[in-house]
């Protein structure tokens, strides 16, 4: 399989080689080869059940692949899972935050888990980044969906990860909250961080991503530079890729 984009000098930020994952007889990922250069952003498209979330969970080392390799900045996941996880930030469908704890306590807990130095300063910084400083002592369960998603982003950015994995981060957010979310993600250490996100929003992908891939039934069906595509061509390609494999 070809690279999404190739950088000959530095190792890719994220690389998968022959990645496969099965749940019993069901093959969620089938031999996926992927290279994502450092500092770039990749949008992953695919219909429900295509394997997008499974891919993100394997990259985040939450799930073990059935076969194949995952390398994050040259480190192989199975050799140094903890070292790899320290480089990753993850925003998933759910926030991973505790309803009974305050915003501050939640972030302070994760800062301990990630071994963040100067914890108090960093927690203050990320709370400020997501504009949640005024609500820092309020319980997480009292926050609106938009606030919860901002907190999830704060948690993911807490340890300054070099690779950010976002699994459909836009679910349930209004247009204003969406704009704010991407603004936060791009504002901190812009250009240095590699971002991989799964989405159903073609417009958003074209505006924020360098590369686009479409996964269908666990296989890489399409890959292209975002700059070579427009909304119409992307929609057409998506339709072709997802229709081609229908029974």
């Amino acid at each position: 399989m070809n690279n999404v984009t190739a950088t000959p000098t530095a190792p890719p930020a994220v690389e998968t080689v022959g990645l496969a994952k099965s749940f019993g007889n069901f093959k969620a990922i089938r031999g996926l080869d992927l290279k994502v250069p450092a500092g770039s952003s990749l949008a992953v498209f695919g219909p429900n059940g295509a394997g997008k979330t499974t891919l993100i969970k394997i990259l985040a080392s939450i799930m073990r692949p059935t076969s194949g390799k995952v390398l994050i900045e040259g480190l192989e996941l199975k050799d140094d899972a903890e070292g790899v996880r320290a480089k990753l930030g993850l925003v998933a469908h759910q926030s991973y935050l505790y309803g009974n704890l305050s915003a501050w306590e939640n972030l302070d807990f994760y800062a301990r888990m990630y071994g963040v130095e100067d914890r108090v300063k960093r927690v203050s910084e990320v709370l400020d980044l997501v504009s949640m400083t005024a609500r820092r002592y309020d319980r997480f369960s009292t926050f609106s969906r938009g606030m919860q998603q901002r907190m999830a982003i704060a948690r993911a950015l807490l340890h300054r990860p070099s690779v950010l994995l976002l699994d459909e981060p836009e679910t349930g957010l209004d247009q204003q909250a969406l704009g704010a979310m991407w603004d936060i993600i791009r504002r901190e250490e812009a250009g240095k961080r590699t971002v991989i996100f799964t989405s159903h929003s073609f417009e958003r992908a074209l505006s924020v991503c360098d590369d686009i891939i479409i996964i269908e039934r666990g296989r890489l069906a399409f890959k292209e530079r975002a700059c070579n595509m427009n909304l119409g061509s992307l929609k057409k390609k998506y339709g072709e890729c997802t229709a081609a494999v229908k029974p």
Partner: protein
């Protein structure tokens, strides 16, 4: 160092969360006190009968209230899928297990500290005895160690309230039986030497129950 700082963070997070809601402590305490009161009224108690049945009643209260508490151990991790958040952290999976187990141990010991005086009052027995305290401590460690892994297993099932006792109680029964026997010896005022065999059984099962769950926990949470 990193391992233990994460263990401390997880245990502290659980304790802080429970102190906020008191979900486990309140419900379990009511249940345990109810067991003691019912048994107290069920029998026409005399000193001989108390000596025979009190250790069993004490461990029925501990065991069933313990199951109730352990059922809640992984519920906060299920809400907002926080377990995945912990798994994404750069820490060994085993630290998550140890942290959760220490949190549960804290709640169990707290509940036992409250139950013991009530038990002493209702059944007119002396519970401030080093033998009984050591037996309770050792048995609780094994009970919580194996209960935490079954709680992690049961949390992803639909009927977790039923699954946990069905899986867990048969496995933990050697510790409960040995604890009832050792507690009976202690409450009868006999010496350490008389309970050696039961203490040895509890310690052996503690070692097994502290070792095996640590080894299997990564597989339990990943698959």
């Amino acid at each position: 160092m990193k391992f233990w700082s994460c263990v401390r963070a997880i245990a502290w997070k659980d304790i802080l969360s429970e102190l906020r809601t008191r979900e486990i402590i309140c419900s379990v305490l009511v249940f345990a006190v109810l067991i003691l009161v019912i048994f107290n009224f069920a029998f026409d108690l005399n000193p001989d009968l108390i000596r025979q049945i009190a250790p069993g009643i004490l461990w029925v209260a501990f065991a069933f209230s313990g199951v109730l508490a352990l059922n809640r151990t992984f519920i906060p991790e299920k809400e907002e899928n926080c377990l995945e958040g912990l798994m994404a952290c750069p820490v060994a999976r085993e630290a998550i297990y140890v942290g959760k187990a220490i949190g549960s141990l804290f709640f169990m010991l707290l509940i036992e500290i409250i139950i013991l005086p009530i038990f002493a009052l209702l059944f007119n027995v002396a519970v401030i005895q080093p033998e009984l305290i050591v037996v309770t401590l050792l048995a609780t460690v094994g009970f919580v160690a194996v209960g935490t892994i079954f709680s992690a297993l049961a949390v992803n099932t639909r009927a977790r309230e039923m699954v946990l006792p069905i899986l867990f109680l048969p496995v933990v029964s050697p510790i409960i039986i040995a604890s009832v026997k050792a507690s009976a010896i202690s409450l009868a005022g006999q010496s350490w030497r008389d309970m050696t065999i039961w203490l040895a059984i509890i310690i052996v099962f503690d070692i097994i129950y502290l070792t095996v769950p640590v080894l299997v926990f990564p597989f339990v949470v990943e698959e």
